[in-house]
């Protein structure tokens, strides 16, 4: 049952270099899903699960937008509103975006590097279970006497301490966040170990596909920064029940340092995989090899390192951080970001661009993340940050990066890789409607937030007075949020209709550049029956060139 492995060839070869001798049947039944160590099934479970949490978080967002749609609204009580924004933010970070980013890696990294499996598959399965267990724990707070947590997704001390946040809801939030974070860390360890140890012959580090490189940066960030959150939240639990940890003038600042040491890198954890996916999409749908590969690799590593050094720009308003250092590093971040944009645009220039749904979402990602990045310059500068701190400007800024940026990248990945995962294609027409609704909805929701925030509308309040046209801005945001919801329904309809009336995709419908397109769609349990020679970061593109 072993496979034959030949030495990597240095000359053009029309025949595969590695071939498995036989195929095998796939396990069936629901237990084969919940106890699977197959990285593809684990990845699919994550994707489905995180999408369920995404729908939950989206529903919370719609309820908040209804409350804010007009001044002096009484639809929700302030307590309910506080619970909703807390669980919306927490759910989206801990249960949706970070696991989603890793789920893509769990599924596609072994396929992109020619591995037959993920490293430490049992650890990945444990991580797979810890995330829903964490989610269930977190959301079970709604069933307790005092309701769910309401101290925001940051759970700043002293707001999250026992006298200000009494009841089990806050404790359940802490444990839920701990379990989900531990789950994501286990996944990152598995993905990084896979890249380090299980690459196919010829797949050197400088031949890794761009998406896999983005996962290297992602996993490094997770492994180096997420332990800070585990420490912060464990200490918060101790503080709530035994007191003394975050007391005194420096206690809350200490919590913020620990929290933001996780809280800023996590933004990049949910950015890098999607820029990696977008890079793949842009190259494939421009019919060109990715431009500036080595610069991108260097910029990813520099970006990841710098993004670990900027966390206290969230704390300028405390007056207790070294503003010069954190402002400088935050501004320097623009350099690697600029390199990545330069590479993406450079790939498109001169290419034969095909505006598929995946490509449209990729372009949407590039444009909208740019707005998120440019508004980031304002919050990276202390004097400007003092003006907009804790206002809706910040909410608009990070939603441009996370929703309008990363989620567009995610949908680019969905439309691009769906045929590989299922063997079927999503409907292109519905995909374009989905894109249009998301593009309009995202700008209609988040741009008015920048304006209202600049005019001074504070975040995390259930009510406001109608000054400076705040009612108009909020009504626009609410209409935008429902436009996004409509776009999500179109996507779900696309999934449904594509499942009911499948259109077969074939193994490589887009003429992909990387190894996942070499195998069947969907891939067999052992991933590959054979592997081609790998002589660059786009081995299948090489083969096509050789043939012509």
């Amino acid at each position: 049952m072993a496979a034959t492995v030949s030495a990597p060839s240095t000359t053009a070869s029309p025949v595969p270099q590695i071939t498995a001798r036989e195929a095998r049947r796939e396990p069936t039944g629901w237990t084969s899903w919940v106890t699977t160590t197959d990285h593809k099934r684990i990845g699919i479970m994550y994707l489905v699960l995180t999408f369920v949490f995404f729908l939950l978080g989206g529903t919370e967002a719609l309820m908040m937008r209804l409350q804010l749609s007009q001044a002096d609204n009484t639809l929700l009580t302030p307590q309910t509103y506080n619970e909703l924004f807390t669980m919306h933010g927490s759910g989206m970070f801990f249960l949706v975006m970070a696991p989603l980013a890793l789920a893509l890696g769990v599924y596609f990294v072994p396929l992109q590097i020619g591995a037959s499996d993920i490293a430490f598959p049992r650890l990945a399965l444990i991580g797979d279970w810890l995330i829903p267990l964490g989610g269930a724990t977190m959301f079970s707070g709604f069933l307790t006497d005092h309701g769910a947590a309401k101290a925001g997704w940051t759970a700043f001390a002293p707001l999250s301490e026992i006298d200000r946040s009494p009841g089990y809801g806050m404790d359940l939030w802490i444990f839920g966040a701990l379990l989900a974070t531990a789950g994501v860390m286990l996944l990152a360890i598995c993905v990084l170990a896979t890249i380090i140890r299980l690459r196919a012959p010829g797949m050197t580090m400088l031949r890794l596909p761009v998406f896999t490189w983005s996962m290297v940066a992602t996993c490094l960030l997770v492994i180096a920064s997420f332990p800070a959150l585990i420490a912060a939240l464990s200490l918060l639990f101790v503080d709530r029940h035994f007191s003394g940890v975050y007391e005194g003038a420096s206690g809350p600042v200490m919590y913020q340092h620990l929290f933001w040491f996780y809280g800023h890198p996590v933004v990049y954890v949910i950015f890098f995989p999607f820029i990696g996916a977008v890079a793949e999409v842009v190259a494939v749908f421009s019919r060109r090899r990715f431009f500036g590969y080595h610069a991108l690799v260097l910029s990813l590593l520099a970006f990841a390192a710098l993004s670990m050094s900027v966390w206290a720009h969230h704390m300028f308003a405390t007056g207790q951080v070294t503003n010069q250092y954190f402002s400088l590093t935050s501004t320097i971040l623009l350099v690697p970001a600029g390199v990545e944009y330069f590479d993406l645009i450079g790939t498109m220039i001169g290419g034969s661009i095909l505006l598929s749904s995946a490509m449209l979402f990729a372009v949407g990602f590039i444009l909208l993340f740019l707005i998120g990045g440019l508004t980031g310059i304002i919050v990276a500068s202390p004097p400007l940050d003092y003006h907009v701190h804790d206002t809706f400007f910040v909410v608009g800024h990070f939603h441009y990066t996370i929703f309008a940026g990363s989620l567009f990248g995610f949908f680019a990945a969905v439309y691009y890789w769906y045929p590989k995962v299922t063997g079927r294609v999503l409907r292109e027409g519905l995909g374009k409607v989905h894109f249009a609704l998301y593009l309009v909805g995202a700008n209609l929701t988040f741009f008015p937030m920048l304006v209202s925030g600049f005019e001074g509308m504070p975040r995390r309040v259930a009510d406001y007075k109608n000054i400076h046209d705040l009612s108009l801005m909020n009504m626009l945001s609410t209409i935008g949020a429902f436009t996004i919801a409509l776009g999500t329904l179109v996507f779900l309809w696309n999934l449904w209709i594509s499942g009911r009336r499948p259109v077969r995709a074939g193994d490589d419908p887009w003429e992909g550049h990387t190894l996942e397109w070499w195998t069947t769609s969907p891939p067999p349990p052992h991933n590959f029956d054979s592997l081609p020679p790998v002589r660059s970061y786009s081995p299948l593109y090489d083969r096509r060139l050789e043939k012509t």
Binding site: A3, T37, G114, M308, T322
Partner: protein, 118 residues
Amino acid sequence: MNRAFVPLLVWATLLTVLAAVLWVWSSDHLPPAIFSAAAGVAWLVGLYALLRPGRRLRLRVRPPELDLSFSSVLVALAVAMLVLGALVGEWLILIGAGVLVAGLIGVARELRAERRYR
């Protein structure tokens, strides 16, 4: 030779330099201390890549039952019970500990079976 360690060590060096600059610049010890700890973790990851050679590729074709691990699920449930036990009570911690032992024994047996197959 597996050179995966090179970019990882470069990254660890970058973190170390940034942490060192923060030590010089910051009057508070906590921020550079947290950052230095993260740099230490990055060095450990780099050393792991340096010391663990890449595995020889095998396109594994093996019995499907080896791809299932009920014991890992038990371990995950046990971890959740142990953590929640701090809130719910000692009894849940004790059950969690028992489930954890059962799960770990199961995982050990699965790994042994897998090694036998290889």
